[in-house]
Symmetry: C2
């Protein structure tokens, strides 16, 4: 049997032809298990989903797959393959056990009744697996149509928008961020209806993108993607989709996610056009002031008041239980005075996203209109804006 | 009014004579609040107990008191006292707020209706306090009869025994550790009925102790005491008691604890006398092996099997759900083979308490008798032993 045949058998989810028997470096195995384990649901009612699928091929490759049916992650490392084959192993138990083993080689062998033997040094363990045939089929990366994206650009875009995604399960189309690819730029936008984060990166080169390609990426997939992008040396990733599935290939790892259906809201309509009163403050100062004042905000709403006066930004709050608090920051301001209320946590989320460094620009129109925050960093290539609906205070 | 008069008024828990007004360094205040806040109950049905009592005297001293009725902590720092007086301030809110303030001086002023104003730099906050008269009276350190104890000795004794204290509320006299003071030695012992930790320190000089002074210290007080001992430069502490209360004075801080009543069990009867089979292993090796094997122990009992054979220590476990695991350590052993079961978590607790360094000596008699663990560190001044009841396996 050639390797090619074997590979195609496996992707077709065929029954294993032999009792898997391999030896693999603990460091390499642990690295891949760490990548894959976050996809495994802690609490699943479908037992097979709490297992990893291990597939060893004669070309000396161990492929590890995890899925929760919505998402899957497939990764691999080199192994000494004594017998090609496949097995499934309880993911959490295996991960915890491998973490506790000392550095060195680990032997893994499929025994009778789906038991899997794991040996290393003077340690010998048998775990109860399940039949490989029960493991669900995982979508394959499409043969054509992938777009290459810069890892650093996408990583930054996810970081700057993911926190604004809605937590309300019912607001289905807000449970993800919209990725907008054009031939020479890319953008990402997320909103929960109360605030919206939008980031656009110019000067990209996205071969194969014609016009505008819009893709809604579920929050959970963005979380997994963040992890993959943070732990790779690769400079680019491959992104593709078909009718039902999104695919991200980062280094040797493939993350898939079921698509979110539905229409993302027309966010361009809410981007403020005439916020002509602005103030610039140090992020760190603003963060400190908001954190202090927020302690005395109404617990449910988290609302604090921003008051702009001659060369001064004042923040204040009051709650019947806790008391009242005020903080002020000296900064040039020469427009008409303005008082507007915002959710303090939403303000803090943005400051955290920009790393709480440098300066931030706050732009307002009036107490009834959305405010806008932007990093004052002079970066022309990246346009990052954060829009917040005001609160009655 | 002289300072002395004022002091005695306060210790008599008199109503405040004035509206407290002070200025205090943020660093000093935070240091003392950090010490005091752990005594404050998070969830109390008695509102005043979630407040700190602040008392400022004309000699430039701010005294901070926290109590949960069972325990109290009283600490102090220097302050610029503009008006002597007292007030109470919500402990958690104050602590969180002071943490968020930048370095510098903080002004604290009692206003009408028990409101307290806190100002620092460009920050201005008012918190809702409660009447000082509602704050419960806290016991005073006795004028005579205190024993001086080495901080380092007591700190070590608490660390080596506190984990063996029973968590079962119903086992009232086991909810603490017994401190045994003699003129030239001190010991501490804790047990939950399944394991017992005993440590004795020779070569102490405990002036004023005649014969044997035995004191049962509640677990919660030991926890607070650990914190105080870990954060002091003082070399000795003062320990005293009266009918109802234990007192510990560490530096300028006084911790009090209501006494546990009842008789601590006769622990000397369970100390093994003829455990003549022993083995010596590296703590780190033993910890690693136990952690691995414990993953496959029965979840409820945590039981693992120790098997001693010719020059080998074997650890093993099995559970119907997870599988089975075995680890072995090479080490000189020439007595009769032995198999005995123990709670894996109890074994790990001891290894953590000795810092998982050096070697450890395991001493056994047979499968029905208690095992004993000791650090193999050649320290003649400190005798530390840990006794574990065996489990049926």
């Amino acid at each position: 049997m050639t390797t090619a045949t074997h590979d195609s058998e496996m992707t077709a989810n065929a029954a294993p032809t032999g009792n898997l028997e391999i030896s693999v470096s603990r460091a390499e195995l642990l690295r891949e298990l760490t990548a894959a384990q976050s996809v495994v649901e802690r609490k699943t009612t479908i037992p097979i989903l709490s297992n990893f699928l291990f597939e060893a091929t004669e070309d000396g490759k161990l492929t590890i797959t995890a899925t929760d049916l919505d998402q899957s992650l497939r990764t691999s490392c080199t192994a000494k393959v004594k017998k090609a084959g496949a097995c499934t192993i309880p993911a959490r138990k295996l991960y915890d056990y491998i973490k506790l083993l000392p550095e060195g080689d680990i032997s893994i062998k499929l025994m009778d009744n789906h038991w899997v033997q794991i040996r290393a040094g003077r340690s010998n363990t048998k775990m109860v697996g399940m039949a490989r045939a029960n493991f669900p089929q995982v979508p394959e990366f499409p043969a054509a149509g992938a777009v290459k994206i810069q890892v650093s650009s996408l990583k930054n875009m996810v970081l700057k928008t993911i926190f604004a995604i809605s937590n309300e399960e019912s607001r289905y189309t807000l449970n993800g961020a919209l990725l907008v690819l054009k031939a020479e730029s890319m953008a990402m936008v997320a909103t929960d209806g109360h605030r919206l984060a939008h980031i656009e990166k110019m000067g990209e080169q996205l071969d194969g993108v014609q016009g505008e390609k819009k893709t809604l990426i579920p929050r959970k997939a963005l979380g997994e993607l963040s992890g993959l992008l943070a732990n790779t040396d690769a400079e680019t990733l491959d992104f593709a989709d078909d009718d039902q599935t999104l695919f991200f290939r980062v280094g040797g790892r493939v993350l898939t996610s079921r698509k979110l259906t539905g229409q993302f809201p027309n966010y361009e309509a809410v981007l403020p056009r005439d916020n002509n009163k602005f103030v610039i403050v140090r992020s760190e100062d603003l963060m400190g002031s908001i954190q202090r004042v927020a302690q005395f905000a109404d617990e449910r709403s988290g609302a604090i008041k921003i008051r702009l006066e001659q060369n001064e930004l004042k923040l204040s709050s009051s709650s019947t239980d806790a008391g009242e608090s005020e903080d002020s920051i000296e900064t040039p301001y020469n427009y008409d005075p303005l008082v507007v209320g915002f959710n303090s946590q939403y303000l803090l989320d943005f400051l955290k996203a920009i790393g709480n460094t440098g300066e931030v620009r706050l732009e307002f129109k009036d107490a009834q209109s959305a405010g806008q925050m932007r990093p004052e960093d002079g970066n022309e290539d990246v346009k990052y804006r954060y829009i917040l609906m005001p609160m009655r205070i």
